[in-house]
Symmetry: C2
Amino acid sequence: MSIKIKSITGPPSPEELSNRLEKVRKLMKQQELDYYISFNPVNIYYLTNFAFYVHERPFILIIEKDQLPKMLIPRLEKGHFESRARCELDFVVYYEFPARPGDNWYDYYQKQIRSNGKVGIESELPIGIVNKTPGEIIVSDIIDEARIIKTDYEIGRIYHACRVVNKGHKVLLKRCRPKVLEFALYKEVTDAMTSKIVQDIPNANFRATETTGAVWPPSISHDPHLIPHIFAPMEEGGPHVSIVSARVDGYGVEIERSFFLGHVPEKTVRPFEVMFEARALAYSMLKPGIIMSNVDKAVRNFITEKGYGDYIIHRTGHGLGITGHEAPFLAEGYDRILEKNMVISVEPGVYIPGLGGFRHSDTVLITETGYQKFTKAPEALEDLTIPV
Amino acid sequence: MSIKIKSITGPPSPEELSNRLEKVRKLMKQQELDYYISFNPVNIYYLTNFAFYVHERPFILIIEKDQLPKMLIPRLEKGHFESRARCELDFVVYYEFPARPGDNWYDYYQKQIRSNGKVGIESELPIGIVNKTPGEIIVSDIIDEARIIKTDYEIGRIYHACRVVNKGHKVLLKRCRPKVLEFALYKEVTDAMTSKIVQDIPNANFRATETTGAVWPPSISHDPHLIPHIFAPMEEGGPHVSIVSARVDGYGVEIERSFFLGHVPEKTVRPFEVMFEARALAYSMLKPGIIMSNVDKAVRNFITEKGYGDYIIHRTGHGLGITGHEAPFLAEGYDRILEKNMVISVEPGVYIPGLGGFRHSDTVLITETGYQKFTKAPEALEDLTIPV
């Protein structure tokens, strides 16, 4: 049963951001932390709406129990920060990196934290910053944890981002014909998505936006992380495997398909069917309460029973949100329970050298009673066999 | 005196990479390290020619004294790694993240390092990986150190990358007219650069390639790290400030100019001249042997004497190489000596709210006797006043 989702394109309200901060503060309280330090640009974006990339001038968010969060930033970035941030906070501004002795970022940073404080940090925090951090250090990824269950606002943004990749994938299937070059497809697909993004979100933040549209032609589709040559030609037959992904003004999604141009080589029919059925099995298990690793196990067992166990080379799915790749995971060893308002990819794959790759991926919301697929493209073999 | 530089577009030879590794090994020996651990994708690229971005599946390069380096990678990336790496090494392959107990990346990682070993790590290494690293840990950025002095091969690649941004900047000045939108300029400039890149390097690695072309129109050019609105129109007058930068198949460079459309507002003439003279002063000091912070100090003193000291908001320059922003720095607090075969930007700036930003930046090689500018575009006020 499909629920009605509202597509959202506007920036988060201050209330949305303060609710996210409250989730983090609640986790801080549970772990009796006096401070939490965030350096991961994605986590800082989640709490502030400010996007940046990490370079030699550090940006650090300092969340103190019962106080307004503080943002440590270089002088040069203050205007930029203020133009994008949508939450209330104090600034700690340092001049430049490098700087004169006594005037470096860490001189300012260390003054913000009591040496007897209990300080939570991300497991991604670089050791160079950990070593400058006063207090008792506790590694605990509480912002990553807060991000796992999406708010209604996030779901609306992810839904919109899926419309963008749906459009990109439609263009891809329309343009992909034998002899068309990878580079031409990439340009057409990403241009189409970029046009939609700037039309829908004229003030989109391009620090938090990127688009990819590519096809793994049959000769390399068995190796899903190989990067296709930019002048690789599309081929007659298949399986080709498409990847259309985007981070749309801060929200990351993907859609992927195995498809054929002109004809379906006989030997590829069965592995396609096995992937297709494995995928149906995964979907049939998706609802709140199931242990996520069990979905992966069931998929593996099914594919193995069908004789293709040696050709499984990755987990069944991963989370998406303000990135296109994050917790939670449909994977062995990830024994957390699936919950309402998680967003995940579902993409069991079979990869046979000499034959090709068989994988569909969609961006999927977990609902109260099951799931809702946000991405849309043909799925069945006959619908993915394109006449040429 | 200009020296003849050969533009290089091919991938590094195995010898080039083994020479780089030798530089690192020499520093390991000086510091009596048994191992060096690299996680920074830029440093791994430097030593292997394999480019990737950091996500939840770690990639770790383990360099052991007197042994072939080992690359810890997820199963899914082995083919990709082999398609790009140009050096000899051993693999340590883990299956997936997350994984079953006993089969996680760190189970494999920890077996590679003796617990009584002395282990050098990058200051950027995430604490979550530091905490899984056996041995006595020493934070020491020796690959970053090795990268500071460029090899002849790197210089040839950087020279080629500068040709790409020179072309982009030429297109930018040709197309930039009042009322033209930011987005249109961005597309034309980046398309021109991308076309040149794929023409010159048909096998370019797009994981290590990106292009930017943007203009800060006069209303925001005083704030150089603000991101212009994608539909911002160019304006009559100035100063506009251009940024054209690229990472061309692994080599990052930039060119930037303050320029005017149609006319030069009277009040902007003096700050332009002050910037222009400060820049000439910086160049006049560039040769091996000078302390880098002294260049920054001289520039600051000069601009301050001219009455614009309050409008300096950043250092005079930064290094470039396999990234567009790295050590060494022309900055206060950076008291290292300038050396032959460093590559730096020279970009003293003056930023006056209500009036605009005044900054030229070029990518510059330090030579035996002085310097050589690799980027080329008009520099003088009259040449940067474009008739409309």
